[in-house]
């Protein structure tokens, strides 16, 4: 989230789309309700009428996988009616920039597409430059090649008529939503978006969000109280497990994982540190070499020296252009690539797409370690449905871990608040805190490498280990290392810090090895003032719910990111009624500003608000993605229509497709005529490992079900409660029918299309006869940028059990 949970109350209009917040993030609704009580309009757009819809002022529906068409129509509406915030877009976004003449778009394809490799060459997706190398611009935004005019042209095709034919949303509903949301364009109005997996789990997932970012920028809704782009993240600490780089493509703090083409740290820094010709741009990533060196010092301590480039060569490099994501892991595992596998606090046999492929893949390993609280479908895969233990070689280790309240440490919520929690009791039996398991496991491994010869053991032997106390994991010591230390006496800005002092903030980090910091974004979280995440102060000086003394928030306790966009060039709030930041008597008052510089009107000293962007402004034209600088509607990989009404390009031309025997896809196939979407219920969580074993919760949601409209039920002669079989080319699940008015048929291109929905929180291990995972049905495809699977729109069949 650019903003945070309590800030939702400051919105004048809240769009919930790609999320069922009332059921899946229930407490978020406390703040949605407070906004409504103050007069805000709540809009919910979803294929299914949910408890979120029930609270909405405006609810309408769309077919799964057509969000870009819906939002594209809104962009068109805002531009044709000139409802956009003109000063904001001209000054704080790249809307006035002149797009290169090499850029083009024709019938669903952007320029640079290679049909053989299914990839774009993005070289032409750039801006024209002036003689100083600065991006050319027309601040009146009238030049036909400026971003705003190109955007207008691109989305002029998204008329209400075509949008309605694609989405199935009635035209009056579309216009009602567009008008209500576009009303947040004036400076004193704020609109916010709450989205979740309903937007990410598509072959156009990132572009769904891009489309909304464009709307938020056009309406001047980013960087302000009650605005922003707010992903409702689904796991208690998924924000920080991402921040801390438990992903193949990033090291902690969003430092891109070094590729093989960067053999030295010098190469890496040269190729990955952005330079700018824009004098007003802060270009914050110019500091990347400081964060790299500090991270490497946190990994290897005294062994990391200038001479050995702080141990850069000791860490693994990925091949350029190769994807190592979740889906690729299970694809490679299925093909027999790995002998060993750790599934730590995870249940991939139910959570990943195409679960049958995953379950088969687990049987091709020599060994697997599963760390968990309860038995689950991954640990016990070898005795699951269709498995013969006598044929499965995989050695399985189940390591029992402590629950959240049986250990000490911090977690970071969706609003970036890092909050400390305490140990209330010892874990039962042999269960151990995960941190202790990690420490003991690594010490066992390191002992082997000390005793016997091993391949390239330098990084193992040199890993910094001074934050482990007496063989036990010490969360305070690790938290301090994540913050970072001065590794030698260092003078920064006329102040000398002794070796061993905690670094006060990331502006003090150094590129020469003088500092360590496990994650620069968290520098300032544990300082000589103490453990900032443990704070419980309730001051609210702005009255807008920032609570700056409660816990700690990255970066540097800034509660609303890009908050310099909330003020004008003089540093005065654009919305005085929502004043989060103001330049007063020569200093900033309110939230922690996005950098110390004065406002823009102070010649040569002020800086543009989007400090993480190389050119200082937000990207309406976004050349960074692999599938286009503007969003474009494509049908899901599996869809119910032969033709994409927007172009000849039916699906995202760069969507990933896998080729094993377990990877089958189908589209417009009469055997699988219904659109299907997966979702959660309030009483269960993710695959249900932490909730299915609780009688209180299981009693309320005891078994797998399939929701369908009354019309479809009539067609299939299915009654409420009937046992049904839901199937796709990849698998099938048994589910009890819920016949409901919450779903309805869509009229798409003049034809009736039915959609059904199934929850993904069940599995065969427990409860008996509760059903199995919805992911047995989902396909191994997904967004080409992230490879998050397309679990929200795929094709299935439904029959009554025992029927035909």
């Amino acid at each position: 989230m650019t903003n945070h949970w309590i800030d939702i109350r400051n919105a004048d209009c809240i769009l919930i789309m790609g999320s069922n917040a009332a059921e899946n993030h229930p407490i978020s609704f406390k703040w949605v309700t407070k906004a409504q009580e103050k007069g805000a309009t709540l809009i919910h757009v979803d294929p299914r009428f949910t408890r979120t819809s029930a609270k909405a002022d405006i609810y309408t529906y769309l077919r799964s996988g057509t969000d870009i068409a819906f939002l594209g129509g809104m962009i068109n509406y805002i531009l044709t009616k000139e409802l956009y915030a003109k000063e904001y877009t001209a000054n704080y976004t790249n809307a006035p920039f002149i797009v290169s003449s090499k850029f083009g778009f024709n019938d669903g394809l952007f320029s640079g597409y290679d049909p053989k490799t299914h990839k774009y060459d993005k070289a032409g997706w750039t801006f024209e430059k002036d003689e100083k190398g600065r991006d050319k611009r027309d601040l009146t935004m009238q030049d036909p090649n400026c971003v705003l005019q190109r955007l207008k042209k691109h989305f002029s095709r998204y008329t209400p008529e075509i949008v309605s034919s694609i989405t199935g949303t009635p035209i009056p509903d579309l216009l009602k939503v567009y008008a209500a949301y576009a009303a947040t364009g004036p400076d004193d109005k704020a609109g916010t978006i709450m989205y979740a997996m309903g937007w990410t789990q598509h072959t156009v997932g990132v572009q769904n969000i891009r489309a909304m970012c464009i709307i938020q920028l056009l309406l001047g809704n980013i960087g302000i109280a009650g605005g922003g782009v707010n992903a409702l993240r689904g796991e208690s600490n998924v924000q920080a497990s991402t921040d801390h780089g438990l992903l193949f493509h990033i090291w902690p703090g969003y430092l891109g994982t070094p590729a093989a083409s960067n053999p030295t740290l010098e190469d890496y820094n040269k190729k990955n540190t952005p330079k700018t010709n824009e004098p007003l741009s802060a270009n914050w990533w110019q500091n990347k070499p400081k964060y790299m060196a500090s991270f490497l010092k946190s990994m290897f301590g005294d062994e990391a020296t200038k001479e050995n480039e702080f141990g850069y060569s000791w860490l693994p490099k990925v091949d350029d252009g190769v994807s190592y994501t979740w889906m690729d892991i299970f694809d490679q595992m299925y093909k027999g690539k790995f002998t060993g596998f750790f599934a730590w606090g995870q249940n991939p046999a139910c959570s990943g797409a195409n679960a049958n492929k995953t379950r088969q893949a687990l049987g091709k390993l020599d060994w697997m370690v599963n760390v968990n609280l309860f038995d689950n479908e991954t640990a016990s895969f070898w005795k699951g449905p269709g498995m013969d233990p006598k044929q499965i070689k995989t050695e399985v280790f189940f390591l029992p871990c402590a629950a959240s309240v049986e250990k000490e440490g911090s977690i970071t919520n969706s609003g970036r608040w890092m909050q400390w929690r305490y140990k209330a009791a010892d874990p039962p039996g042999d269960c151990k805190p995960d941190g202790d398991i990690m420490v003991e496991l690594f010490e066992h491994i390191r002992k082997l490498y000390k005793r016997y010869d091993g391949v390239f053991d330098t990084p193992i032997l040199n890993l910094r280990w001074d934050h482990v106390t007496g063989g036990k994991f010490d969360p305070h010591a690790v938290a301090k290392l994540i913050n970072g230390y001065f590794e030698k006496d260092t003078t920064v800005q006329d102040k000398t810090y002794k070796k061993g002092t905690l670094v006060p903030a990331f502006a003090m980090l150094q590129a020469d090895g003088a500092t360590s910091s496990g994650n620069w974004l968290f520098c300032n979280s544990y300082t000589d003032k103490g453990n900032m995440a443990a704070r419980r102060g309730k001051n609210d000086p702005t009255g807008l719910g920032l609570f700056p003394d409660w816990a700690w928030c990255w970066p540097v306790n800034r509660r609303i990111i890009y908050n310099r966009a909330s003020v004008n060039a003089a540093g005065k709030p654009l919305a005085p009624n929502k004043n989060i930041l103001e330049w007063k008597d020569g200093k900033w008052v309110g939230d922690v500003p996005d950098g110390p510089w004065p406002p823009l009107d102070q010649k040569d000293k002020g800086r543009l608000p989007f400090i993480m962007k190389t050119d200082g402004v937000a990207a309406i034209f976004g050349p960074g993605l692999v599938d286009g600088p503007f969003p474009e509607h494509y049908e899901p990989l599996e869809c119910p229509v032969e033709k994409n009404e927007m172009s000849a390009q039916r699906i995202n031309p760069v969507a990933p497709i896998y080729g094993t025997a377990a990877d089958t896809y189908t589209t417009c196939d009469p055997r699988y005529p219904f659109v299907c979407s997966t979702y959660r219920v309030t009483e269960h969580w993710q695959t249900g490992v932490m909730t299915r074993w609780q009688p209180w919760l299981l009693e309320t949601q005891p078994q797998m079900f399939v929701e369908m409209s009354e019309e479809l039920a009539k067609l299939l002669e299915i009654k409420n409660g009937d046992p049904c079989i839901v199937s796709s080319p990849r698998g099938q699940v048994e589910a009890a029918a819920i016949v409901t008015k919450r779903l309805r048929p869509f009229i798409i291109q003049g034809t009736t299309i039915h959609q059904v929905g199934i929850p993904w929180c069940y599995g065969w291990v427990h409860p008996k006869n509760g059903g199995d995972s919805a992911n047995l049905l989902t396909p191994s495809t997904g967004d080409p940028n992230t490879r998050i699977p397309e679990s929200k729109a795929f094709m299935v069949n439904v029959v009554k059990k025992g029927g035909k």
Binding site: G234, L246, F338, E440
Partner: protein, 190 residues
């Protein structure tokens, strides 16, 4: 004396001499809630954050000082996000932790076996370490097909976890990367 937790905390702020029985600076004695019926003199209170979705709601956990067992969990009224309320899952925290179905032993399934066996930590960690070394070293790639130095193992993959604490996440990535893993992923990708 009938006061709500919120009212009580206000009183408590003015007159802390009421006695700090619990861990975090507030007395649990006169709180009107489920806990009111319990023997609060012998209870330790700790604060926590909900382990389910990422709203980050505050929770209070009450532990019996004599037995060290958790006896109750509830929403933290002082927490600015949830102000004491919790959803069905957050409200069931007690049953997540105090649950006879939890697996509390190290378990091992041998190749081609149809059953779990109980093992000690030392036995399991020794054996996993041997497996890791073998898998890592056998599939270690010093140079890729283009001859570029990559120093990685392609024999082991790792996923997890968004269910861990920050400090654990950081240490886990450090360990896995020091072993040379590049296939490192978790829930954020699904």
């Amino acid at each position: 004396m009938h006061v709500t937790r919120r009212e009580f905390l206000k009183i408590s702020g003015m007159a802390s001499a009421l006695g700090a029985l619990a861990g975090l600076g507030f007395d649990v004695l006169p709180i009107k809630s489920y806990a009111a019926g319990l023997d609060t003199m012998s209870v330790k209170e700790t604060t926590s954050i909900c382990p389910y979705c990422a709203v980050g709601c505050g929770q209070i956990v009450q532990t019996d000082k004599a037995t060290g067992k958790i006896i109750n969990t509830e929403g933290d009224s002082d927490h600015p996000i949830n102000e004491g309320s919790l959803c069905a899952k957050g409200a069931s925290l007690y049953q997540l932790v105090v649950n006879p179905s939890r697996w509390t032993q190290v378990l091992y399934r041998a190749p081609y076996s149809d059953k779990w066996e109980e093992k000690t930590w030392d036995w399991a960690l020794d054996r996993i370490a041997v497996n890791v070394k073998k898998s890592r070293d056998t599939a270690f790639v010093t140079k890729n097909a283009k001859g570029q130095e990559v120093n990685r193992t392609e024999g082991i993959a790792h996923i997890g976890s968004a269910a861990l604490d920050n400090e654990e996440c950081w240490l886990l990535q450090a360990i896995m990367r020091s072993l040379g893993l590049v296939y490192i992923e978790h829930q954020a990708r699904i």
